[in-house]
């Protein structure tokens, strides 16, 4: 009888401490996902380059866009640094998509547009991020909203895009999560550049 009590005690204390240990450890040891932030070779191959002088204005705060959507309640904590990869990829996609690309850091106005003979200014923002996760697979969705303005800053087109990448076994592969995020961002940018090209045609 005494032996059973002893055995019970030895299990009881670890179990009492377990929730606290788990809570602190998952916060420290969660998954931090940083995408490479580069477009694949397919992008330059698939998207034609259009002869236009186009400016891109990126609103403040895009680089800091972070999502903690872990998919399911029981999943490990995950932090997706979406904005950190989105901004350099957005710049690169416009460099590829247009012969004359200008990054507009100053707030655009009609004087600047006519002074530098810029055909259009494009404003692109991340609107959302979704993690559809199951035990064997993961699907990531990146939502963006883009607005195209003419030289007088009047609206030409406004649209939203969704880029999706779904794969099995991403958590098991080295770099699987990161590349999956990169693919979702690229999917959204692919559609963005095509829409802008069509709007300016």
């Amino acid at each position: 009888m005494n032996q059973r009590k002893e055995a019970g005690r030895s299990f009881f204390y670890p179990l009492c401490f377990l929730p606290f240990v788990l809570c602190s450890c998952v916060a420290i040891y969660g998954w931090n996902i940083h995408a490479p932030g580069l477009l694949s070779d397919e992008f330059a191959r698939d998207i034609p380059q259009v002869s236009k002088r186009v400016a891109l204005y990126i609103p403040e705060g895009q680089k800091e866009f972070v999502s903690k959507d872990k998919g399911t309640f029981w999943s490990d904590p995950q932090t997706y640094y979406v904005g950190e990869a989105f901004v350099p990829m957005l710049i690169e996609s416009f460099q590829n998509g247009f012969t004359e690309f200008v990054l507009m850091e100053a707030l655009p106005n009609p004087e600047i547009m006519s002074q530098y003979a810029i055909d259009a200014v494009v404003v692109s923002e991340i609107r959302g991020f979704k993690n559809r996760k199951t035990l064997p697979a993961q699907g990531l969705d990146v939502y963006t909203e883009t607005t195209v303005f003419n030289r007088d800053l009047k609206l030409i087109r406004r649209f939203e895009t969704r880029g999706t990448s779904e794969a099995k076994g991403t958590f098991a592969k080295k770099g699987g999560l990161e590349v999956n995020l990169n693919a979702a961002i690229e999917g959204s940018l692919r559609e963005t550049v095509l829409q802008v090209q069509e709007a300016l045609r």
Binding site: K5, G8, R9, S10, F12, Y13, P14, F17, V21, L22, C25, V26, Y29, N32, A35, L38, E42, Y57, P59, E60, Q62, E64, F65, V66, T72, F73, W74, V87, P88, I91, Q95, V102, E105, A106, N109, E111, Q115, Y116, V121, L135, P136, A137, F149, K154, L155, R157, E160, R162, T164, E166, A167, K168, G169, K173, K174, G175, L177, E178, V179, N182
Partner: protein, 207 residues
């Protein structure tokens, strides 16, 4: 060598004709017109510079405001990686197969977590009975077995429901991998100032 006085007069006359003639040909309000053109183009305060893409090194033109420079865009992540190859998300293709050298979440931290749990558990087993002898006796009597069992049962069912949500969708992925992109035009009437200057404060950036 003396020059004839008639020739000198001809040179002087030609000089005056050219100078005065050209002055007469220019419209008398030309200066005002040129100045007026400058006035219609007010100084924008913009400054043109060339910057390199932090990842690829490809240069591009930047129009910046010297009064309010954008520090967030000037300091982008500059780690250089090979371009990603999405074939590595396909079935039976690993990062090594495509030469992936980008960032990754290390599995080491999972082992660190396991070691931390084990160490904490062992410490608690030694220190715990000394601190709470009464609780030990009660807990050992029965509660210790019943609570984790109930938690496991509840957790298991919730996990099953959550997993079922997307299970059927992922079941039919070709080559274990799929990519899609789509867009939708938003019908609206607006301009730049309404969208990005007036309502600047309303924009959420955290999902």
């Amino acid at each position: 060598m003396n020059q004839a006085p008639g020739t000198r007069n001809q040179v002087v006359a030609t000089f005056f004709f050219l100078v005065l003639g050209s002055w007469c040909l220019v419209p008398c309000r030309a200066n005002e017109v040129l100045n007026a053109r400058e006035i219609t183009m007010p100084p924008s305060g913009a400054q043109v510079m060339v910057r390199e893409n932090s990842k690829t090194g490809t240069p591009y033109v930047v129009i910046t405001d010297s009064q309010n420079p954008r520090t967030d865009l000037a300091s982008l992540d500059s780690n250089k990686y090979r371009r990603p190859d999405y074939r590595m998300l396909e079935k039976n293709v690993t990062a090594k197969d495509v030469g992936y050298d980008g960032p990754y979440s290390s599995k080491k931290k999972i082992y660190i977590l396991a070691a931390t749990l084990a160490a904490a558990g062992a410490t608690a087993a030694v220190v715990g009975p000394a601190l709470f002898p009464a609780a030990a006796a009660t807990g050992a009597a029965g509660g210790s077995v019943a609570v984790p069992a109930a938690a496991a049962a509840v957790g298991g069912s919730a996990l099953a429901v959550a997993a079922k949500k997307y299970q059927d969708h992922f079941q039919n992925l070709p080559d274990d991998y799929s990519r899609e992109s789509e867009s939708k035009i938003i019908e609206t009437e607006t301009d730049f100032y309404k969208m990005f200057v007036e309502k600047k404060a309303d924009k959420p950036f955290q999902s």
